[in-house]
Amino acid sequence: MKEKLFNILRRVAKVSIEEVNEESSPDTIDSWDSLTHINLILAIEEEFEVNFSHDQIARMQSFKSIVECLNENL
């Protein structure tokens, strides 16, 4: 799951694979702005066939919290 997530993050934020890791967040990746965030959630919802609630989306502000929310929904 984490590999798949790294891959999505890398492609949506348009960064190289070395730049994404478990500590990734808008603080470590410049292109991870609020608009990338919308596209990111959209892509994750599609690829994992899940639907996040609004408070989950608001919470998903780092790679770690994304994994957390995804686990709640799988």
């Binding site: 949506v12 609020s34 599609e46 608001a58």
Partner: protein, 593 residues
């Protein structure tokens, strides 16, 4: 129906190297909501018709400022299309959410305020750009404030929305090259439950779901496709299990499924949709593997055939491979493969055409889903044009006449005698209010006989026709088989006593009749009359206009590439000499020049 591609799939496709070879399509988006994810879907739709879209979004809730105040980052002379998304929730809290509390006078104040916005925004954009404007109308409230009473009272919330949309539509009709996109149609197709994503509305002021954005992008591209001349002109149909259920050669004439009741009703309704396209000017042709007489027996004698032989411009009914047959149809009709849509129920035939003729758009009809045939054709949007010119309505007849002319040509060998026998009448006119839409349309659609392939809209043509530095002329053709209407356009640009052929084009249905040789002489006469000493013809090569690369030389122009280095060929004609004569096999040439 086709499966929608995912966000990542689309992103992958858009980062491929193919896209960098595509011409650029500049799209500016004015909006008062967060709409950023639409960029990807717009670029995807653009890529599907061969363009690399450059989407520029205006600032959030800055429609008025950017339109009326000016913004030279958003608008330039290269802007192709301006999309406007003015959502009621942002523009008026009162009308969208607070309606039940409002007094009548407050409602009308709000309406006046929004109307003022609309007028100034349209004006402001037109001061900055002549690009196509697509204004997305206001959506109805799914649950109006007065509940079921809203539909009963005179000035309900949704009737207020309706009135504002009517106002918008009128203003847009008065603005050249501007179009009203009915978001309520998109909303209905997707369904309100799926159209809105309330999570993002509250988190980011982004109202529309991914499905909604895909639907809106595909709707917008029906307009852009037509603007760019990428709309399809011809529908080629298979017969068995496409126009009727069953195989006429095996099941027999009386056992095919076709009629007002199930199961024949699927095919009956599908045929009506095909006939509707015919009346919108789309050429209908047949390509099927049958005994030809079996097919015509159905056409001529089956009581429930809505599609008639007279609707069919040409046909290839034989046992040869369909790729050769479709190529032959394109030759007979004088159209490009990329303006053809082919529908067939056989997966084998569809795959064959996809491989052999990738420029042809294919639609696979699955006999198991015959109930959806009509919907598939009606929803494809591939044939949409932005204006219905009167010539369009006659196009089917014109192409039939073309086929008849070819038959006559087989009987008469001497070309001159053939031309004379057509009894052709030409008419040359200056651009006027009646012919400007058709002139603009021809510049947008004509690919083969087009020396410069410059695309213009109504506004451009009007401006040039009113300017002293330009002349815009058109040529119409009538013959014993029918009236083809306006079939050619020439735009002359004057500078320092030199007349340049900015545009010289002829519709493909008028080719091979010597019309162009009259038209060029008429243009040269006009250039001379305006006091020019030299006429300059330019040729810009495209993938499709190779047939005209020697046009100017054939008409006694002399190649001279010093005048302009950008063109692929420059040809000069000395106007101080006597101008060459016109061909004499025309019955009559009427000219305003």
């Amino acid at each position: 129906m086709k499966k929608k591609r995912s966000f990542l799939e689309i992103q992958e496709m858009l980062s491929s190297s193919d896209i960098s070879k595509c011409p650029i399509l500049e799209i500016a988006v004015l909006r008062n909501v967060i709409l950023e994810p639409i960029e990807q879907y717009l670029r995807y739709e653009a890529f599907k018709i061969g363009f690399a879209a450059n989407v520029k979004l205006g600032e959030y809730d800055n429609i008025f400022q950017e339109a009326a105040g000016g913004n030279n980052i958003l608008f330039s002379k290269n802007t192709d299309c301006v999309l406007i998304f003015m959502k009621m929730e942002t523009v008026s809290w009162d009308i969208s959410r607070n309606f039940a509390v409002l007094k009548a006078s407050q409602i009308s104040d709000e309406i006046e305020r929004i109307k003022g916005y609309v007028v100034n925004i349209l004006k402001g954009i037109r001061l900055q750009s002549n690009a196509m404007i697509l204004w997305h109308g206001f959506e109805y409230l799914i649950n109006p404030s007065f509940g079921i009473c809203d539909s009963q009272i005179k000035n309900g919330q949704n009737s207020t929305i309706r009135d504002l949309n009517n106002f918008l539509q009128t203003k847009i009709q008065d603005t050249p090259n501007a179009y009203f996109v009915d978001l309520n149609i998109c909303l209905t197709r997707v369904g309100a439950q799926e159209f809105y994503d309330f999570r993002y509305w509250h988190i980011a002021k982004a109202p529309y779901s991914k499905k909604a954005l895909q639907q809106i992008s595909s709707e917008d591209f029906k307009y852009i496709r037509a603007l760019k001349g990428k709309n399809k002109k011809c529908l080629i149909l298979d017969c068995d299990n496409t126009l009727w259920g069953g195989v006429v050669g095996e099941d027999g004439f009386s056992n095919i499924k076709l009629g007002r009741n199930y199961p024949g009703s699927s095919y009956f309704e599908f045929q009506q949709e095909v006939v509707n396209l015919y009346h919108r000017g789309i050429i209908i042709a047949l390509c099927s593997k049958n005994n030809e007489e079996d097919v015509w027996e159905v056409f001529n004698t089956h009581p429930d055939m809505i599609l008639k032989a007279e609707h069919i411009a040409t046909s290839q009914i034989n046992w040869q491979d369909k790729a050769s047959n479709i190529r032959q149809i394109a030759l007979d009709l004088n159209i490009g493969l990329d303006s053809i849509v082919f529908m067939d129920d056989s997966e084998f035939e569809i795959k064959l055409i996809r491989n052999a003729l990738p420029d042809v758009t294919t639609i696979h009809l699955s006999e198991k889903n015959a109930v959806e045939y009509r919907e598939i054709l009606a929803s494809c949007g591939l044939f949409d044009t932005i204006t219905i010119a009167s010539e369009d309505k006659n196009r089917g007849v014109a192409y039939r006449a073309e086929a008849n002319r070819k038959k006559l040509m087989n009987q008469i060998i001497c070309m001159e005698d053939y031309y004379k026998s057509l009894e052709m009448i030409l008419e040359i006119n200056f651009a006027n209010n009646f012919n400007i839409p058709r002139i603009a349309q021809l510049t947008q659609k004509t690919n083969q006989f087009n020396l410069t392939t410059k695309r213009y809209n109504d506004v451009d043509i009007k401006e040039m026709s009113e300017s002293n530095n330009f002349d815009v002329i058109s040529i119409s053709l009538k013959d014993k088989f029918g009236n083809s209407g306006i079939i050619g356009v020439c735009i002359l640009r004057y500078k320092s006593r030199k007349a340049s052929f900015d545009t010289f084009l002829l519709s493909c249905r008028a080719l091979g009749r010597g019309v162009e040789n009259v038209f060029v002489v008429q243009a040269l006469r006009l250039a001379k009359k305006r006091g020019n000493q030299l006429a300059i013809g330019e040729y810009y090569a495209t993938r499709k206009n190779k047939q005209v690369e020697n046009f100017y030389e054939k008409n006694s122009f002399i190649e001279n590439n010093e005048e302009n280095l950008k063109a692929d060929g420059i040809f000069c004609y000395d106007l101080q000499e006597k101008i060459k004569t016109q061909p004499h096999f025309f019955k009559e040439i009427k000219s305003e020049i």
